[in-house]
Symmetry: C2
Subunit: 203 residues, 2 copies
């Protein structure tokens, strides 16, 4: 039996806070607004999370823990390079269509407070390029792909997949696309991006 109405107050708060913080950021969010969204009394926010800052950190960590596994597919799974590129481009776009504000939220707050990264690095599963680098260097020496630095390829993979979500409002303006048309463009990118990358690195 699934009791959706039985989620705890603590959880309701976290979900509401997620929504509000992702849209408005730390400084733009209001505790009252989060309470309203969670349909809960404002003082309960403080009862469960002590302060706005701590509530925010809980939200941020939860968001980051959603994103990290996606990145780790590229960096730490045992698929071939091509499969990684194909799967990541497909899966990440699907994932993002469900959580469009997530990358923007994370990048925004990290830019505001870069020391946050230092804390994150110590956490388990923080994505690290080491294994990917070994894989790329091996593929190059075996003549599977052209010469390219692992860091540059990795940045390219992230950029091509993530940027269209972060820059959505601006790109929509440039290409004169409605929300619906832009969504179609994003859908096409599920295969388009992998194709674009592979065409560039194959020999």
């Amino acid at each position: 039996m699934i009791k959706t109405k039985d989620i705890s107050a603590e959880e309701k708060i976290l979900n509401a806070a997620e929504h509000i913080f992702e849209n408005k950021g730390l400084s733009g969010a209001r505790m009252q607004e989060i309470a309203d969204e969670a349909k809960i009394n404002k003082s309960l926010l403080h009862y469960y999370y002590r302060s706005k800052q701590l509530l925010f950190e809980a939200v941020f960590k939860k968001a980051f823990n959603k994103l990290a596994p996606q990145i780790n597919v590229v960096l730490n799974s045992d698929q071939s390079i091509c499969d990684k590129i194909i799967n990541f481009s497909n899966n990440y776009t699907s994932f993002m269509l469900k959580h469009p504000y997530l990358p923007n939220f994370i990048l925004q707050e990290l830019n505001r407070n870069p020391d946050f990264v230092t804390e994150l690095i110590s956490v388990d599963n923080f994505p690290n390029i080491k294994n990917f680098k070994i894989q790329i260097e091996k593929a190059i020496s075996e003549g599977k792909i052209r010469q390219i630095k692992a860091e540059q390829l990795f940045i390219n993979i992230l950029a091509l997949n993530i940027f269209p979500f972060i820059a959505a409002p601006l790109i929509k303006g440039f290409v004169e696309a409605s929300d619906k048309e832009y969504k179609i463009i994003l859908e096409k990118r599920k295969t388009e991006v992998a194709d674009f990358i592979i065409k560039s690195i194959k020999l």
Copy 2:
């Protein structure tokens, strides 16, 4: 005779506001902080710009007017496709190394308030993909580049060039690069990115 000390109060305010807003966003910025940075009395901010909102809009428009010409090099100059890609990748990165917070600032505030784009579109020189689309379709039919949608190529060009700046703190963590090392990676991208794109679209 250049009198750098002679810039008006109005200008001093705008420069300071630019700095603070780009770092902290609209809601995170404090009028007092801007006044301190401009070394000017806080009430002068209101004297010259009436309200925080209007000061912010002045800053935002100034920032956008710095960025738009860069984009228009890709969309509306009469260079060849290859030259556009090569020059943009080179120039944009140079430009961004001087204004690293600019794209993040613009995208952040547009995501918070997407209606802002509607206002911007009516302004002169708002980048539009129309001419670029014609150029790409011509190049394809002439057999100069492979089949690709202009929108997708355009998004890719922007993504590869802009994303590394927006996501700097995160990528630095993933690839374990210091500020200095990351700057070297970005410098290399001036040629690396154009190369990556051209390899993908050439026949």
